[in-house]
């Protein structure tokens, strides 16, 4: 039986880790080491996550009471636009693939780096340039179109739309480069013995994600380019008075942005597959079903964009087809949830901090998935479209799914990345605050939404008193939940920073993982492995599994 001790020879342990192999700021900014690039992405993503989160707190303060008394309507519109744009383009899309994925993917494959290390570095540099454009848009007049840039509002507002679309355009290339790199790496650089069905499911999910990134992101680029030309040169493609079509923009936009929600959630699903197995000492239930359902979701996900447009005036037949295909995504998603739960059966479950987040993912993401049924169903979507129900639904999938999985994965691989352990006690305290805070925040929004409260409302006092009071009741509860959630997030930040300085050494394999990333030192050496690792078993072949007892 292979154990971690076999491949990590203590005699070679004097080789410095990737963190101390070279020194100086330049050795980081111009590194081609996938681990350092992953760490730089991680720092950037966490920084923008904090900015986006603080913007959300600003929104929650405004909405806690019905009158628009905290900020002006213009400021509020900029707040929710920037919250959305930052969270989508700068946080959730790169969060798992570009930070955790960059770090872990080559290690799990037993490779020394990704296939194109310089392209990987270019991806990060492009990300920074794109982010600077978005920041420039903020300081040069802000952006008030919503992250969706719908025309003709986006072609007529006097805020900095061109700077923002240029930023999103540039960020798209960063995403494409990462996806391209991962696909080639997965195909060409797997360790000896690592067949496709011996790959950890995290790799499968990143593979599916990369396919979407490469195929869908160019469409966003073209769409944003057309929007820029529309604003700048007045070409009229989206302008009804010049024979264009404002709804065409929505088709183009969602042709990217619906697949993009799978860019945001599929990697999270991969993380969860790693965590429910490792922390319950069980093989995954239905490896092939989970792996192939990722690919199925990625492919069907390209054909459902029109479900964002059931009330836009698109044809009834189109709406019916999009509705049907949307349910087609629901089935593989349900299969995944059932498989994760079944994995726990007859395991030996450790309720570590990452495992708690994985279980929270199952709870919150299932709510996100089930509430999607109301929106995929045509007749009920008409009432719920553009209400707080939609807001709560996509936060359950994007944050309760994508970002909770990111936090789970961050806790799972933190010892691998830093060689340190964080405080389990503080980890659990923060978990309770995050889980309870999140649930309260968005449950309240579901109720406000089914009762008809529209989204993107700065104030809600120019309506009937009965509805105003009902909305105010649920919105104020939602705000309290958000404050609790915010406190939980800051606790995570503090104990993770604390662990860097004072944390106990973790050793190479604190969770007893069996995939290849656990067979090297924590933190890993610059070239990942001494010699060439050989994959001799599946990723979830844990020591505790009782093969005789079957």
């Amino acid at each position: 039986m292979t154990t971690a001790a076999e491949t990590i020879d203590p005699a070679e342990g004097n080789e410095p880790s990737y963190l101390s192999a070279t020194k100086g700021l330049r050795s980081w900014l111009f590194t081609v080491d996938h681990k350092r690039i992953g760490i730089m992405y991680l720092v950037a993503v966490l920084l923008f996550f904090m900015v986006g989160g603080l913007l959300a707190i600003g929104i929650r303060i405004e909405l806690a009471t019905a009158p628009g008394d905290f900020v002006s309507a213009q400021t509020y519109n900029k707040l929710f636009t920037l919250h959305g744009a930052i969270m989508v383009f700068l946080v959730i899309i790169p969060a798992i693939p570009a930070s955790l994925g960059n770090f872990i993917l080559p290690l799990q494959l037993g490779a020394k780096d990704v296939a194109f290390p310089k392209l990987n570095l270019a991806s990060f540099h492009i990300y920074v340039v794109g982010a600077l454009f978005l920041l420039y848009a903020i300081v040069s007049g802000g952006l008030d179109t919503g992250w969706t840039f719908y025309t003709p509002y986006s072609t007529s507002t006097d805020t900095s739309v061109i700077a923002a679309t240029t930023g999103a355009f540039i960020l798209g290339f960063s995403s494409i480069f990462t996806g391209l790199n991962f696909i080639v790496t997965i195909h060409k650089m797997r360790a000896a013995g690592m067949t496709w069905t011996r790959m950890p499911l995290f790799i499968w999910s990143l593979y599916a994600t990369s396919v979407i990134q490469i195929l869908a992101t160019p469409v966003l680029a073209i769409t944003l380019l057309l929007l820029t030309m529309e604003r700048w040169l007045g070409i009229g493609i989206f302008d009804a008075s010049m024979g264009g079509d404002p709804v065409l923009f929505q088709h183009f936009f969602w042709f990217y942005s619906h697949p993009a929600v799978y860019i945001m959630i599929l990697p999270g699903m991969g993380v969860i597959s790693e965590l429910v197995t490792t922390h319950s000492r069980k093989n995954i239930f239905g490896y092939r079903a989970i792996a192939y359902s990722s690919v199925a979701i990625a492919l069907i996900g390209f054909l459902v964009w029109g479900h964002h447009m059931f009330v836009s005036g698109q044809s009834m037949i189109a709406s019916a087809i999009f509705s049907f295909l949307t349910f087609g995504v629901a089935v593989p998603t349900a299969i995944k949830v059932f498989s994760w739960v079944a994995t726990l059966y007859k395991g030996s479950i450790r309720l570590t901090t990452p495992m708690l987040y994985a279980l929270a993912f199952l709870f919150l993401f299932t709510i996100g998935g089930l509430t999607g049924l109301f929106l995929g169903t045509l007749a009920t979507d008409v009432h719920l479209h553009d209400t707080y129900f939609v807001v709560a639904h996509f936060h359950h999938t994007m944050m309760g799914g994508g970002l909770i999985a990111f936090i789970a994965g961050l806790h799972h691989w933190w010892p691998k990345m830093t060689g340190r352990l964080y405080s389990e006690l503080w980890g659990k305290i923060a978990f309770v605050l995050v889980f309870v805070g999140f649930s309260v925040t968005f449950f309240a929004q579901f109720v406000a939404g089914t009762n008809g409260m529209p989204r993107r409302y700065h104030s809600y006092d120019s309506l009937s008193p009965a509805m105003r009071d009902l909305y105010e009741y649920w919105q104020s509860i939602s705000s309290i939940g958000a404050y609790v959630l915010g406190v939980g997030m800051f606790i995570i930040l503090f104990y993770l920073i604390h662990s860097l300085i004072r944390g106990k050494r973790s050793g190479p394999n604190p969770w007893g993982g069996k995939s290849l990333e656990w067979e090297t030192a924590s933190p890993p050496i610059e070239h990942n492995f001494h010699g060439h690792p050989i994959c001799k078993h599946g990723p979830y072949d844990f020591d505790e599994i009782d093969h005789q007892g079957a």
């Binding site: 836009s312 739960v341 045509l378």
Partner: protein, 331 residues
Amino acid sequence: MISQLLLAATQTAEQSTEATFWLPPGASTTSSSVDPLFNFIMGVSIFFFVLVMAVLAYFVIKYRKRSDDDKTSPISGNHRLEIVWSLIPAVILVVMFVWGFKGFINLSVPPDNAMEIRVIGQKWFWEFSYPIDGITVRKGEKLVVPINKPVKLVMSSEDVLHAMFIPAFRIKRDVLPNRYSVIWFEATKLGEYDIFCAEYCGDEHSKMTHTIKVVSAAEYEAWKVEAASGGDMTPAQLGKKLFTGLGCVACHSTSKDKKKMVGPPLFGLYGNTETLTDGKTVKVDDKYIRSSLIEPNSQIVKGFAPAMPPYKGRLKEKEMAGMIEYIKSLK
């Protein structure tokens, strides 16, 4: 199975007008057809959520780590179970799809005998006109409709996208420039209900609300007579009402402090001479106000952007005179 469920839906259809925890009071035939479907999906969702979470909780408690010597099962799948849990959701989802599509057709196709109201969405107010009776309802006034009569709203936008949303009727539709979109309802319950703009349209999006009032047939006839006569307002009073109703207040201040907003402040403006963007000057008189309403962007005062929508064809002669008198009275 599908037909049975659909039958159950039609049987409960007439009872769903009370407010529930989730849904506001329903007040139309459309709410009566949508609500049972909503409740069905909610029931299915809660059932499966509780089931999955109960199994999850049971496993987490039962199979929690006891000791370092724990042995775990080598199970790695079960084809029969996997097929079952793929097919059951698939069947239920087909039911939802079919039911939802039927409901959607009902929401989208107005009956032939529907009474027509024309709707204009504009930043940031709604304007409703009854073509047969020549009545126009604007911001600050209620949209009055008769009970138990199908009403069709034929809508278009003067500027950006808007969306007509009446939660009590469970209906919503985007309102687009240079296109007509249609929505319909048949109110079944007297009372007043909120109308929202549901598609983000800029600064005052959240103020783009309106009230719809469902009245009896007799009350409706009486209201029509009164509304068509325009009441006994003086021209300046009518102008003031229009000034709010047409959304002018969002961009023009009328107070003594002459606060600068998107457009020029109107206090004490009448009779002044203003410089235009092309350097020419113009005296603010009846003619200038009139042309500014019809073709506002032909003579823009220096320091302002050409941002005002034209009201050509939207105001009757009496209303035009009212606007002029009102602006004249601001001093």
